[in-house]
């Protein structure tokens, strides 16, 4: 039989056409973030967040200075305690500012809702936290690579564990204010205050590879929470008659 067969290119085009008329492939997290970045730019992603970020940096620097200077023998424990400070404070300050914003409701009806923008910001804040942890680890371990890796891995571990758990508990206990601060206090600060030397000994002996692994797993879980935050559909608090 003399049939005209389509070329591979034509087949590919036909398949693409059929697919374009059918169900749309959901965007990946990175594609969504990239599209948001292109549409808004950093200026609008961080709109009105500069003062919160400034305060969080100030608190973080203060905490690093106080903890490292007052307890020189507890370097690892201090690094573990200080690593999430920027993230926790900037998260709480920006979230509170947005929820109290007069434009909150309107922003929730736009193509890019403030909840999605907040998810983007949180990811950026964790990356900024990583940069701060790196700088602080370089500061305490500038003489030796071994002295750098331990505080660095512990800082990342603390940062991503705290980041993941903060987002998780914010969702789970929405009505309790400042849960991330309570979490940070319980997970990062209390062990230093109560078990000072034992805690430092434990952190200085735990294998660096293990802390990197925990940090990696926590980072993956954190990204999963970010994905959920991008897709979540929730009512905006409103009471009848208001």
């Amino acid at each position: 039989m003399n049939m005209i067969r389509p070329s591979d290119e034509e087949k590919e085009r036909a398949v693409e056409y059929i697919l374009s008329k059918g169900l749309k492939k959901p965007k990946s997290l990175w594609q969504e973030l990239y599209d948001m970045y292109r549409a808004l730019g950093l200026r609008y992603v961080f709109y009105d967040a500069a003062s919160s970020m400034g305060i969080a940096v100030f608190v973080m620097i203060g905490f690093y200075m106080i903890s490292l200077m007052s307890s020189e023998q507890y370097t690892n424990a201090s690094m573990f305690a200080a690593a999430p400070v920027f993230f926790i404070f900037v998260l709480i300050l920006t979230e509170t500012a947005e929820r109290m914003s007069v434009l909150y409701e309107l922003k929730m009806t736009c193509k890019y809702t403030i909840r999605q923008i907040a998810a983007f910001r949180i990811l950026c804040f964790s990356l900024m936290g990583t940069v701060f942890c790196t700088l602080a680890s370089l500061f305490v371990g500038y003489t030796d690579i071994g002295d750098f890796l331990r505080p660095f891995s512990l800082s990342l571990c603390a940062l991503f564990l705290c980041s993941f758990l903060s987002l998780y508990i914010i969702e789970a206990f929405r009505k309790i204010p400042f849960t991330p601060v309570l979490l940070w206090f319980a997970m990062n600060l209390l062990p230093l205050l109560f078990f000072g030397e034992h805690w430092e000994n434990f952190l200085s002996r735990v294998p660096i590879a293990l802390t990197f692994c925990v940090a990696f797993v926590a980072f993956v879980l954190f990204i999963t929470e970010i994905k959920k935050l991008m897709k979540i559909k929730r009512e905006v608090p409103y009471y009848a008659g208001c």
């Binding site: 609008y44 009105d48 434009l103 193509k111 905006v236």
Partner: protein, 284 residues
């Protein structure tokens, strides 16, 4: 088409809306009820700020909550308490919201200029909004709702704070816009909707009382509305509506369910008469 199918909304034990079904096609729809009548709850469900406890809201057959940004891209919303950044100018504010609405910067710039002119704020486009009057702020709110050229324009109490001239201009604007989109506006100011609404939806006791054209709604009181300056001479029980002054006399407009002999003249009922009569237990 937007369809509200058997929607109920509860806040805990309190039912705000019950079994609401409405279909919206192109034109102006006015939601009318006294304050606290459920208008804002319905509007907030239409813009996905609230979700129905029962029932569904469909846009072209798809549930609006599952459409996500695809639905948000086609709506324009003016909230009842329109918030704004006091230190921003209308131009920067509109550019900011245009970005949130996913509008390309070039298009946003053009659209901002066009809308600022449309709402007569071109002269103050670069002035900070902290010094603006309530009416000017409301006009900024109307402009932001139109930024993405929405197919569905939802306005909650849009004429609040506007002076009579601005009100007329607003009505003309809405009439113009409704030619190729759905416009839903909520209000308790009856005169705002009488001339522009294609359909009026009255909500009473958490349910839809009527969904009809203004003239059909007015006809429900046909032959029952009278006016007189001498209420003492009215022999039947009557329900007073409004009063007006003319030539030093006070004229009282009232509803009388039976034919009313005497000095009172029958008059053509308007939407305000129906509103006052229907909500007589709720209107002060």
């Amino acid at each position: 088409m937007l369809a509200v199918n058997r929607v109920t909304k509860k806040y805990g034990g309190f039912t705000a809306l019950e079994d609401i079904s409405i279909e919206f096609t192109k034109g102006v729809y006015a939601l009318l009820s006294p304050n606290g009548g459920g208008k804002t709850t319905l509007i907030k469900m239409l813009v996905t700020l609230l979700f129905p406890t029962k029932g569904e809201i469909l846009w072209d057959g798809s549930d609006i909550s599952s459409l996500g940004e695809e639905y948000r891209e086609i709506i324009g919303y003016l909230p009842q308490d329109f918030g704004y950044y006091k230190n921003q100018t209308p131009r920067t504010f509109l550019n900011y919201l245009a970005a949130l609405k996913g509008i390309e910067p070039g298009t946003a710039k053009k659209k901002t200029e066009e809308l600022l002119r449309l709402v007569s704020l071109g002269d103050v486009a670069d002035k900070k909004m902290r010094k603006f009057s309530g009416g000017m702020i409301q006009r900024v709110g109307i402009a932001q709702a139109l930024l993405n050229d929405p197919k569905l324009l939802i306005l909650d109490e849009p004429t609040a704070g506007l002076d009579p001239k601005e009100r007329v201009r607003f009505r003309n604007l809405i009439s113009e816009l409704s030619k190729d989109r759905i416009v839903i506006l909520s209000t308790h100011i009856v005169s705002d909707v009488e001339t522009i609404a294609n359909r009026v939806i009255m909500l009473k006791d958490r349910k839809i009382l009527c969904n009809d054209t203004p003239s059909n709604i007015c006809n429900t009181l046909k032959g029952k509305v009278y006016e007189t300056r001498n209420t003492d001479a009215i022999p039947k029980p009557y329900f007073p509506l409004t009063q007006r002054q003319e030539d030093g006399y006070t004229y009282v407009r009232f509803v009388c369910d039976e034919e009313c002999p005497g000095p009172a003249k029958p008059v053509t009922p308007n939407l305000e008469d129906v509103f006052l009569y229907v909500f007589r237990d709720e209107v002060i």
